[in-house]
């Protein structure tokens, strides 16, 4: 028989929780249920004991528009609501969810999730007490649910016209619009009740141009946890200019030579390097299981003194910002590495208990259908002592990477990749011609050792990123100053 851990001792005592009484309204207003229903769900969920147990209620309304050939080709709304019930005993998780927000459905799901445990019942909380948010990082003037499509269409028409105006070679402009209202309510076995409203918006600009019988296309996007007041002409000019410039330069672009060479990463979007080369490897679940190349490296000096890497959920309106994580812990700033030394993993409650440390507010899930894992939020590197010009001049022959489409990492081997859509060839310390469509591959710890220069021009990418892990996606942000990696393998072509 399998080893079921007994739920007893630590963590099962009723913890004293402070906060205002929840009041009846929020349950009814947000989810059409009563406090008694939630308490009944918690009691069923902890009937065989638990180290940790919670109900995660979510209501998400998404509105999407595809704008093609000057008109709306498709408009969609999607309403997704339900509750995920989790019972944790040691490293073991029982999980179930239901879209039916009734006491019967919740109790049935709770029984399924509770089957992982084999102990005696935990005393359910007498009252749920609402916790105030430690910070509010994405307040909006008008929630997206109150913004009609009549206010979004003029934005799309304006963006399409701006893109077309930029160059006569533009033959197609396609826009993808997405706005999301999300309400989350977390009720845990200790009686803690946490609520968060999470807005999100994104505009994707896809451009195709035709010149001398050749076609090229490219994209740019802007994304943030913001409301409609955010999208002004300045934002539209920026994203359409990026899309058109990134497309037109492709007509002149070629491939660099194949093989190992110095790679300069331009500020902003190049934060993808941190996400792949170190970020995933510092998620504590992989380390708890011993499957990450960083599993035994905390406290070690792994990079130059000027390398400080942070994962932060508190940056206002960032796509990766979180007032609270999906276990109800406050969003916060986690220093992964400082002064070149590895400091802290990103933790959810399971890994935090495993390591005997406080959770870092990194417990995230795609939706109520998914279990929590430690995930990145907004990952960036602090400024270094050099300037961008110095760095480019210091490179004999190599490349400068500017825009990216995607990346991936193998946690154990440490090998990671990212795909450069636009960049420049560096010859004799100068940018000489544009390059395109090359994959870069390196090894995480090796790359950290090879970050030999970093500039003072750090910024966050204005485009949005989505991170995938074990089949779950979550929104993230990233940023970096201009940095030099002295040697990486570049997927070029040799004549």
């Amino acid at each position: 028989m399998p080893t079921f851990l007994q739920a007893c001792g630590h963590g099962t005592q009723q913890r004293v929780v402070t906060g205002a009484p929840a009041g009846a309204n929020v349950f009814a207003e947000w989810f059409g249920i009563g406090q008694e229903d939630v308490k009944a769900g918690l009691a069923a969920l902890t009937r065989h004991g638990a180290d940790q147990a919670e109900l995660y209620f979510q209501h998400r309304r998404t509105s999407s528009i595809v704008f093609q050939d000057g008109i709306v080709a498709r408009a969609s709304t999607n309403i997704d609501q339900g509750v995920g019930l989790r019972c944790v005993v040691g490293d073991q998780t029982g999980y179930a969810f239901t879209e039916e927000l009734t006491r019967d459905a919740m109790e049935a799901a709770a029984h399924t999730a509770a089957s992982i445990a084999r102990g005696s019942a935990v005393v359910a909380p007498e009252e749920l007490r609402r916790q105030e948010l430690a910070g509010q990082h994405y307040r909006v003037e008008v929630p997206w649910r109150d913004v009609g499509i009549d206010r979004k269409l003029p934005i799309l028409r304006r963006a399409a016209a701006m893109a077309r105006r930029r160059d006569p070679a533009i033959s197609k402009v396609e826009l993808w619009w997405n706005d999301v209202d999300e309400r989350v309510m977390i009720a845990d076995m200790h009686g803690r009740l946490v609520l968060d409203e999470r807005p999100m918006a994104r505009l994707y600009v896809n451009v195709t141009a035709e010149k001398d019988g050749q076609r090229n296309s490219n994209t740019a996007n802007i994304a943030a946890r913001r409301g409609i007041e955010w999208i002004g002409d300045e934002e539209l000019e920026q994203v359409t200019r990026q899309a058109v410039e990134r497309t037109m330069v492709l007509f002149e672009a070629g491939r660099p030579p194949a093989g190992e060479m110095p790679v300069v990463l331009a500020s902003g979007p190049s934060g993808i390097l941190l996400h792949e080369a170190i970020g995933h490897g510092m998620e504590a679940d992989f380390n708890r299981k011993g499957t990450s190349i960083y599993a035994e490296m905390i406290g070690e000096k792994v990079a130059e003194d000027f390398v400080t890497i942070v994962d932060d959920g508190t940056l206002a309106h960032e796509r990766g910002a979180l007032n609270v994580d999906d276990e109800g812990n406050p969003g916060q700033r986690t220093v992964l590495g400082e002064g070149g030394q590895l400091r802290s993993y990103m933790h959810d409650a399971i890994s935090a208990r495993h390591y005997g440390v406080a959770p870092t507010g990194s417990g995230r899930r795609q939706s109520f259908r998914h279990v929590v894992m430690p995930r990145m939020r907004c990952t960036f590197m602090e400024d270094g002592p050099h300037s961008r010009e110095e760095i480019i001049a210091a490179v004999g022959n190599g490349i400068l990477a500017e825009t990216f489409t995607n990346g991936q990492v193998q946690i154990g081997a440490g090998d990671y990749t990212f795909y450069i859509k636009n960049g420049w060839l560096i010859e004799g310390g100068r940018l000489t011609r544009p390059i395109k469509d090359i994959n870069i591959i390196g090894n995480g710890p090796e790359t950290l050792r090879r970050i030999t220069m970093a500039a003072d021009d750090g910024r966050l990418d204005t485009g949005g990123w989505t991170c995938g892990k074990n089949g779950q996606t979550v929104p993230v942000s990233q940023g970096i100053p201009t940095v030099l990696v002295s040697q990486l393998t570049v997927g070029g072509e040799n004549a």
């Binding site: 080893t3 008109i71 709306v72 999980y95 194949a258 440490g414 570049v490 997927g491």
Partner: protein, 443 residues
């Protein structure tokens, strides 16, 4: 009584009724339900048990020449009574689109009746004890190595069903099951490195899934073959791609073969129908009528009746995926709007024989990142694999890329295998390409 197909049919029809009553000229409703159970074992601990049923209703609306789509999981009658009229009202606020029409009945008439055999009673009857036994069998085989750090294995099963109905007389439904068994293994390698490998086997039917110990052993073998991996060379040479990895290249090739990409001029196939787009070794068939296939179907998402669709025949592009909307935009008759199962006929040799023929080059066993431009076909992918030495898989290599253009690459296809990967909708065999650019260690 648990909800069955009858209930879903009624829900879909009722949604269409509510929509037309609210003023939609046409409506298409789809009601779905899925039950899934997942069990995950790490080393000797049952780490996760997840069990759930999900239900949803989606609706496509045509209102005064305008079109929109909607989906909800809030199926309470009162919620639907406000959700559907609101959806109709939202559609009215859009612009008229002369290319949007509900699927004409002649496209969904005379559906095929081939037995698809998509439901396995054995999958429906899997017990909690079986799941745990299977996990233990897999994990035991997966841990049988002196360098083992950790093995995580899992069993997941799924039963799904949906019913669709339209205001112009369509009705259809489908029921299917699937089961997946497999896992991931991490070993202690050289220095800091912890090489990993995985293997998953799945099917609509339980008896198509190999023995659990064999699956665990295969996951372990995938990790063990990475031990001692070094950085591959920078070279132009032959590339042999294992069936498990070959599907990725075929997906990239076929990705822009659709009317949407044609209409937005983001396809390297634009203007190439009837022309050679690959060497004559390549034939690609979209096969929705494959028995027990993951994506088998009698009709597609728009209700269009299914048929075997040759995409590429002996290297010549014959068809692309054409939905009704983008088909009208670019004046092409609809075929089907989306991919089903993809098969590659014509191979006569397996991987071992093709390696022997190649003598030297690079064997690709898996990809790591990379991308391809759908407009130009330019691509660059990270990869792992082995040097081919004396016609066999030799030393493991990694941390290298392959770069080129998809149309050029497929014109250099010199052989396809007879060994399709069974655990995917893309039944890709071994593929052999000549003169491919790899980038790795400095020469």
């Amino acid at each position: 009584m648990p909800e069955g197909l009858e209930d879903l049919r009624a829900r879909a029809a009722e949604a269409v009724e509510l929509a037309t009553r609210a003023g939609a000229q046409d409506a298409w409703g789809t009601a779905s339900k899925e039950r899934s159970v997942e069990v995950e074992y790490r080393d000797d601990i049952l780490e996760k048990v997840q069990e759930s049923t999900t239900r949803g209703l989606s609706l496509r609306l045509w209102v005064d020449g305008r079109y929109s789509t909607h989906r909800t999981t809030d199926l309470r009658p009162a919620s639907l009574r406000s959700f559907i009229p609101e959806a109709v009202a939202l559609t009215r606020a859009l612009e008229e689109d002369r290319f949007r029409h509900i699927t004409p009945p002649e496209l969904y008439a005379e559906r095929p009746t081939d037995a698809l055999d998509l439901v396995s009673g054995a999958v429906q009857r899997v017990t909690p004890e079986q799941r745990i036994d299977w996990c233990q069998e897999m994990v035991e085989a997966a841990r049988a190595h002196e360098r083992i750090i950790s093995a995580t294995v899992g069993v997941s099963t799924r039963e799904g069903m949906f019913a669709a109905a339209s205001s112009n007389g369509f009705s259809g439904d489908r029921e299917s099951t699937s089961v997946w068994c497999g896992g991931e293994v991490t070993l202690r390698g050289e220095g800091e490195r912890r090489p990993e490998g995985y293997h998953w086997a799945g099917s609509t039917h339980l008896e198509e899934v190999p023995g659990r110990a064999a699956i665990g052993a295969r996951a372990l073998a995938q990790a063990a073959r990475r031990l001692g991996s070094t950085k591959g060379p920078t070279a132009r040479t032959t590339m042999v791609v294992e069936p498990r990895a070959a599907g990725h290249l075929l997906r990239r090739l076929i990705g822009p073969a659709n009317a949407g990409s044609f209409s937005q001029e983001r396809s390297f196939f634009l203007g190439k129908l009837g022309e050679a787009v690959a060497s004559d070794e390549l034939t690609l068939i979209d096969d929705p009528l494959m028995a027990r296939g993951f994506a088998s179907r009698h009709f597609d998402g728009e209700g269009i009746r299914s048929r075997r669709l040759p995409l590429v025949e002996a290297g010549v592009l014959r068809n692309i995926y054409v939905d009704t909307y983008h088909g009208r935009k670019i004046d092409m008759a609809p075929t089907t709007g989306s991919r089903s199962n993809l098969s590659v006929p014509g191979g006569t040799k397996d991987l071992a024989e093709l390696l022997a023929d190649a003598e030297r080059g690079i064997l690709v066993t898996s990809w790591l990142g990379g991308n391809a431009d759908t407009t130009t076909g330019d691509f660059s992918f990270g990869l792992r694999g082995h040097l081919i030495e004396n016609g066999e898989a030799g030393a493991p290599v990694g941390e290298m890329n392959v770069t080129g253009n998809l149309l050029t690459l497929f014109s250099q296809l010199v052989a396809v295998g007879n060994d399709p990967w069974p655990y995917s909708t893309v039944r890709a065999p071994t593929l052999v390409f000549e003169d491919v650019q790899f980038s790795g260690a400095a020469a």
